[in-house]
């Protein structure tokens, strides 16, 4: 029981503010989702929460604000995210200190610092479910007594203990613990000795696997297997869903409706062309008609969504299993040559799904140099799933060669550009210090929740842009803009890149949406060489508008101009080079 002589931590202000604080990766985001019912993304790597999120929570019939503070190891801020955490401490009424029970000693470091600050608080002993597996016994009562604040065991992913945690907030109180700074670890060691007992366990399969995945030889081999499998699964699931679900559904349900609408509108005219598009051999074609209601809906929902689903399914498993930090360790070496560090592989991978979350994830990078290089590489070399799905559709007969050529070029470019920028950009790339979380079996409910959140976000953000994109395509054609630019840029488009002049339309629309842009290539009947060149140039010359806005905000004008110049020069010279090389090879 809490000590009765300490003061009650009662609500005083109008809006009661509860702060969730703890080390990185202890499950704060998961606790936040549980307490607010709002969904935020939780992943098994440190630093998921860079900026904080706020939500509402009910406490005794009263609304209060819950704030998910970025993870921090100490109250002496070591990084911008930690500075945010410390600054926010001033604004809270109560702190819920989320602690990883499987790693108590290290976590108590922050706990005792919070107690010393005398903020009213409670401690959530999260990951309680895992303590059993690890053979860890914690005397909750004893800990509560030593700390002088309520301590509640919780398991945020299953929801156990969350009610108790909420109830305990009423008993929140400032700590009674005091200590000299140089006595801190001593004090913590003392507490640990008193309340924790660890049975010796043989290394679990997870732990053995964990050691193998960072082995300098076995690790990269396993990584190769992992990535190949991931790629295979994305393709298998994505293609399967399109072939067996999305396409049949569209053809049975939507096609007759559109055909009817087309007849109703008299098969031609401005309104008809806008809504239904151009008929191909007298028929509506979802791929080529380019009406807002045909191609405009077909692209995001039938052609892209299945791949987005497959991608986020795989990424979700990778994230929650805890594999990504290990991959970060394996590639750290290579990444340093590009002026980045290992964990920057995460924004790049997320960028493969959609560049927007990739760009947001770049914010974890610490120095200006890293952010500049990261943003430039992301914008130039990382195609998004929407674009890839469309390319896969176009390359139907040559998927393997085509993708090898496109990815091979982009990967080489990524390395070369990175090395060059590392050499010519001033600034430092700090070495990593990384806590590697244990492997966890992904919890399927959390996984599905995250997946559905990401799909919804995709639909919400992609559909309007795609519709707008298709509308723009129609306007461009109607007003002859494509013909005009086609003529204007003939030297670049035809001579340098070896593409038909109409391909300029794809480059224009690519500013807005890459999937629509690739879709515009469909009616042009391009050869494999042309498809590869177009895909690479479309990836490199500009990120989509949504990504551009974020990068611009984060990099500032000067760096963005620099980055853009590099981008345009690289895109067209590499496109030209590819064209000449592939022509030379007789493709």
């Amino acid at each position: 029981m809490p000590r009765s002589n300490s003061p009650e931590g009662e609500a005083k202000g109008a809006v009661f503010r509860v702060l969730l604080m703890g080390n990185p990766n202890v499950g704060k985001s998961a606790v936040f989702s549980r307490l607010t019912g709002a969904h935020v993304i939780a992943s098994n790597y440190p630093g998921t929460t860079v900026s904080f999120s706020e939500g509402l929570m009910e406490l005794d019939g009263q609304q209060c604000t819950l704030i998910d503070v970025p993870g921090t190891y100490t109250l002496e801020p070591l990084s911008p995210a930690e500075q945010v955490a410390v600054d926010m401490l001033e604004e809270g009424d109560v702190v819920v200190n989320v602690v990883d029970a499987t790693n108590l000693e290290r976590n108590l470091n922050l706990t005792v610092q919070l107690l010393k600050r005398k903020v009213p608080m409670v401690v959530a002993l999260n990951m309680w479910d895992e303590t059993l597996e690890h053979g860890i016994n914690i005397a909750v009562e004893g800990l509560q007594e030593r700390l002088g604040v309520p301590v509640v065991p919780t398991c945020a992913i299953s929801g156990e203990g969350m009610k108790d945690l909420q109830q305990s907030l009423k008993r929140a109180r400032p700590g009674v613990l005091t200590y000299e700074e140089d006595e801190r670890w001593h004090l913590i060691g003392d507490i640990i000795e008193q309340v924790q007992q660890v049975d010796h366990r043989h290394p679990t399969i997870g732990q053995r696997l964990s050691h193998a995945t960072v082995h300098p030889v076995i690790g990269p081999l396993l990584a190769l297997v992992m990535l190949t499998v991931s790629f295979g699964v994305v393709r298998f699931v994505g293609e399967g869903l399109i072939g067996h679900v999305a396409e049949p559904l569209c053809n049975w349900l939507w096609l007759p409706v559109m055909q009817g609408l087309s007849d109703l509108l008299g098969s031609s005219g401005f309104i008809h062309d806008l809504l239904v598009g151009q008929l191909v051999d007298g028929q509506v074609s979802f791929g080529e008609s380019f009406g807002v209601l045909t191609t405009g809906l077909y692209i995001p929902v039938a052609a892209v969504l299945p791949y987005v689903f497959a991608f986020y399914l795989v990424v979700g498993v990778l994230e929650d299993s805890g594999y990504l930090p290990r991959l970060g360790v394996l590639v750290d070496n290579v990444m340093h040559r590009l002026g980045l560090h290992g964990l920057s592989i995460v924004p790049m991978m997320l960028g493969l799904g959609c560049n927007v979350p990739g760009a947001l994830a770049l914010r974890v990078l610490e120095t200006r140099k890293e952010r500049f290089i990261g943003a430039t590489l992301l914008a130039i070399c990382v195609p998004c799933m929407a674009q890839l799905a469309m390319i896969a559709g176009l390359l139907r007969e040559h998927v393997v060669e085509g993708f090898l050529a496109v990815f091979g070029t982009l990967f080489l470019l990524w390395i070369c550009l990175g090395v060059a920028m590392n050499r010519f950009t001033r600034g430092a790339t700090p070495e990593i210090v990384l806590d590697i979380p244990p492997y966890r079996l992904p919890y399927w409910r959390a996984l599905l929740q995250k997946l559905s959140m990401r799909m919804k976000r995709f639909l919400r953000e992609a559909v309007p842009y795609v519709l707008l994109g298709v509308l723009v395509v129609n306007l461009l054609y109607t007003f002859g803009v494509i013909g005009f630019f086609g003529k204007l840029f003939t030297p670049v488009i035809t001579r340098l890149l070896g593409l038909p002049p109409e391909a300029v339309g794809a480059l224009l629309v690519g500013f807005l949406r890459k999937d629509v842009a690739v879709g515009m290539l469909a009616p042009l009947g391009l050869s494999l060489r042309q498809l590869v060149v177009a895909s690479v140039v479309l990836t490199a010359y500009f990120p989509c508008a949504a990504t551009f806005v974020i990068l611009f905000r984060d990099l500032g004008l000067r760096d963005m101009v620099k980055s853009s110049i590099i981008r345009v020069v690289v895109a067209f010279s590499v496109g030209g080079l590819l064209n000449f090389m592939m022509t030379g090879l007789g493709l």
């Binding site: 960072v214 300098p216 210090v433």
Partner: protein, 77 residues
Amino acid sequence: MRTNLADLPAGKTAVVVGLHGGYGAMRKLDAMGVRPGKKALKLSSQFMGGPVTVLIDGRQVAMGRGIARRVLVDTTD
């Protein structure tokens, strides 16, 4: 024998005796359990100056080679 985490061979255990690097990185290591008195099992170091991974308190901590060089340890055997 006195050495550091970078030079400690993989598979060997040693006791941390001192952290001698830049403030930020060392504070972070300290908070992650890499601090004097702790037993560390070196798991691996990646090729060509890549990061070092150690096991401390049953948890893996990875750090750049330069940082590992500044963590002094005494081998126990």
